[in-house]
Symmetry: C3
Subunit: 130 residues, 3 copies
């Protein structure tokens, strides 16, 4: 952990939305949170949705839904501050698109027990750098 | 919220399955539940599976798995009635296909805390309409 | 249930990773666990990720994340033994790739209430076989 999953409807493509920019924004916010999220464990990815029926299905509605899966143990204050600041960045990222089309943005997080089952040779790169 | 996610195996395509019809059915059931699910928050989408190994992997098995993510606060009675009625509709939708091939249908729901982090200009359209 | 979902980054393709082999490995382990997982309910699938930013996003990092969704009721001992043995198999499957590139492997499980809403004509095949 941590994991972040961005689901987005593909009708945003014609608005010029570039998913990679959003993934980089989320990734950068996580790395900027000091030691809260070890860099070697950050895994941000997107799922592009091509089939969806939003609201009454009668108009060109779009949505972006971000789900975080993080380990337990972070304080309520940290989580509230971190996700609030992140979501402000996400809203800013979409501000122009949001001003001219139907769009629902949402962000959730789940806290999971850290698994006993993991193997990761990315961490070592960032530990060496310290 | 609410969110619904339909995972389906792509071997159903040759049986004439049209995912959009299923998404519309789910969407319509949610809107028909009175004020239980605000229309502007309904987000139903599908994920088409192209790689899967079902049961013993030796035959042409298919599955459709529906996961709902809804906010907390609805009564046990409402949830039981709503999902039971919806699943009856889903079974009816697949009745012909189910009668002639291997198929597993399933429906789950999760209840999440409503997030502090959301921005949605679709709701306004449906509030104006009232 | 049970369900298993394998998310994998598509940069593993150039390393010769074949997702179907991994799905078959997971499926076989589940079937080898005696009566713990009824064969007719096993649904293992993959989601191929094409957009992701891992770690600092500056190198060719890969990950594979496996999520199990199983019904409640299995003992802590069983779960620990089963998932530990399975993850050893997964690590062995990736050993050659892991030795020569950045890769994070992880495995989680969630326990869900068995839903009231399911219909499955695959089970009958395996009950007949007994």
């Amino acid at each position: 952990m941590p994991h972040a999953i961005v689901e987005w409807t593909d009708n945003l493509e014609k608005d010029g939305f570039q998913v990679r920019g959003l993934l980089q924004l989320i990734n950068a916010e996580m790395r900027a949170a000091g030691d809260a999220f070890p860099t070697g464990g950050i895994r941000v990815r997107a799922i592009k949705l091509t089939d969806y029926v939003v609201a009454d299905g009668e108009d060109d509605y779009a949505f972006v839904n971000i789900t975080f899966k993080i380990g337990k143990g972070r304080s309520e204050d940290f989580k509230k501050e971190f996700f609030t600041a992140l979501f402000e960045r996400v809203k800013a990222y979409f501000a122009e698109i949001y001003a001219r089309r139907y769009l629902a943005l949402s962000l959730y997080f789940e806290e999971l027990e850290s698994p006993n089952w993991k193997q990761n040779n990315i961490h070592a790169k960032f530990k060496k750098a310290n």
